[in-house]
Amino acid sequence: MSNGPNTLTMIAAIVAKDVRQRLRDGSLLVFGLLLPLGVAFFFNMLLGDDTSRQTGSEYVVVDSDAGSLGQEFVDAALRPLADDGVLELTTADTEDEARALVEDGGVDAAFLVPEDFTESLENGDDAVLTVVGDADAPVATHIAREIGRAFATEHLRIRLAVASGFDSEPSPEDAALLLEEAEAAEAPLVLSEDADLEWRELGNATYYSASMAFFFVFFAAMFSVTSIFDEKAGGTLARLLASPIPRGAILIAKLTSGLVIGLANMAVLAVATSVFFGADWGDPLGAGALILTGVTAVIGLTAAVASFARSSEQAANWLSVLAMLLGVFGGALFPISQLNGLAIVSYLTPHRWFLLGLGELSAGGLDVVLLPCAVLLALGLVGTTVALFRMGRMVNA
């Protein structure tokens, strides 16, 4: 032994051994490549791809309003979205005609602007903007509902401003000023400002490629963490403990092998989905930062949960449940907006922050990924700290 035992060399040896084992047992191929690519391909085929996830959603609008607000809804809210290719818009003359189109599947949803829409709003009364959706197009229907709600909310804000700013009927000058303020206000319907809909800025291919890659990286990384229990059951942990490697280094090596496998996995999927599905992961630097911090979060969380398990099987079961729950609540399996009141929970999941970061990245600029990266890194550090604190329980014979 010309060179004394070097901890980094030992960690590298364990990582290399773990990766070699993972490559041989086939789990990496299944969970790291075949499943994420397969599911992403399935969703991509099912939903098609375009510049945005709701592209292809077709809407019809019936403007029966005699006033200006109905026209404003069509021209200022719907038409710009159609012009941007976000949705396809047609008009119908009657509500019955629109409903028939929805029922026949000709469109995904219909907006019905009633006759007294402007009048009701101006009088401070409730105005009903009806959305008729195709039951087979829940996402498109939900989007339609959100568009309508955003428009209504914006007008309520203006109305409240009028009500709170003036005790009596405003003078013509004040009214003109108010009109100016209203016109200067933010455009009422900007999807990217709707917190629940940020992910929609990703195209189908990108969204499902990224969400499936991130969803399955949990499973790919899981085996590295649970391999500590396998080493214990197989007796090799005793041999590791008898060797001159520090105990902490064994756990760090396991986490590192999970990190290496996760990163390689995500990198391969990013390239593969870009080439085969046309996914756009955005700026490579930003996407790389998100992948690095995202996989760090995955490893930290899986290690923390596994540290409470007593066996490989128990750890694998718990981590599978964790992966599913985080996938569901993080928007990896279906849109977060469908969680309704539980959508806030999504912010506790790394999936949400990962997809949010990719969505932000698609809008341009690298600085936009700083917050998602910071949150993901924090999740990873917290999880790793928990695992290290419980190391004595995990790394013993």
Partner: protein
């Protein structure tokens, strides 16, 4: 200076005192057997000596270095062969060896060289590239031992290496250990097979219920419990005169006969045998066969603990 010195080591699991104030030492080049039944505390003692388990009290030194679970220097001096097959079954024998060689601080080239050397030693060179899962039980056992030799240890610890092994492989393993000890490696060998301890060990410690009950060479242990050797001699015609001649011999404690067989009890049959045979020849007694039965460790264990090794 002993290569291993264990002083007053204890380990408790909850209410169970697994190891209780155990002390012994192993000299350079010596093979020491820790003999005891299952659950006697052998593996826990080994766990503390290998640095896998923390001890509650006592001290352990390896080649004069205070040993602990965190002392990497003392750990580097020990080769460990656990009871179970601690192998990566999906990797090849060569990959297993190279991996653990790296954990003991060997450089890549050193690891390669040492791996081939160990493969040769354990007779697996021609199967080195095969996954361990393809190996027979005996081959896997040999590799298990080989992994303990990678760091050219000053002290080799074998924890019941023949458990569950067929007789042929067992014999091969014992031969391998014997070869190593001839090469000067100090060995700590645990077993509950009395024959293995008798065959391999220079000294034996008998452990039971976490305590060392007795220690020494086989002869010392036997003498501690006062057991005599037995010499069985079959004669053509054992007459009373011949028996009287034998009774008159100083080393003989007791003489009895049954048919043509004479049974002698003596404290040291090996020393007394030439005198016995010479006396019988001069007395004109025709000797058909001679058998010497020395009291074994099983008898010692039974005497010390009141139960057998495999109970």
């Amino acid at each position: 200076m002993p290569i291993l010195e264990v002083r007053g080591v204890s380990k408790r699991y909850g209410k169970n005192q697994a190891v209780d104030d155990v002390s012994f030492f192993i000299e350079e080049g010596e093979t020491y057997g820790l003999l005891g039944p299952n659950g006697a505390g052998k593996s826990t003692t080994i766990g503390m000596i290998t640095g896998i388990l923390e001890r509650d009290s006592g001290s352990i030194t390896v080649d004069g270095i205070e040993h602990s679970v965190t002392n990497r220097k003392s750990k580097s001096l020990i080769g460990f062969v656990p009871q179970e097959l601690a192998l990566y079954h999906d990797l090849s024998a060569r990959d297993n060896l190279r991996f653990f060689a790296r954990l003991y601080g060997l450089s890549k080239s050193e690891a390669r060289t040492k791996t081939e050397e160990v493969l040769e030693t354990v007779g697996l060179s021609d199967r080195a590239g095969e996954a361990v899962s393809q190996f027979s039980g005996g081959m896997a056992r040999r590799l298990n031992i080989g992994l303990g030799l990678l760091n050219s240890p000053r002290l080799l610890i074998l924890d019941e290496p023949t458990v569950g092994v067929d007789p042929q492989s067992r014999n091969s393993i014992l031969e391998s250990v014997h070869t190593l000890t001839r090469g000067g490696v100090s060995v700590l060998y645990t077993t509950h097979y009395m024959e293995e301890a008798e065959r391999l060990c220079d000294r034996v410690g008998i452990i039971e219920a976490g305590k060392i009950r007795a220690e020494g060479t086989q002869r010392e242990l036997v003498s501690q419990v006062g057991e005599d050797d037995t010499v069985l001699i079959t004669l053509d015609a054992p007459g009373e005169r011949v028996l009287d001649v034998l009774r008159a011999l100083e080393p003989i404690d007791e003489v009895s006969s049954e048919g043509t067989q004479v049974r002698l009890l003596t404290s040291n049959a090996r020393d007394a045998l030439p005198l016995i045979l010479d006396t019988l020849t001069r007395a004109g007694a025709g000797i058909r066969s001679v058998e010497v039965q020395e009291p074994d460790l099983e008898a010692v264990f039974l005497s010390l603990t009141g139960k057998g090794l495999r109970e």
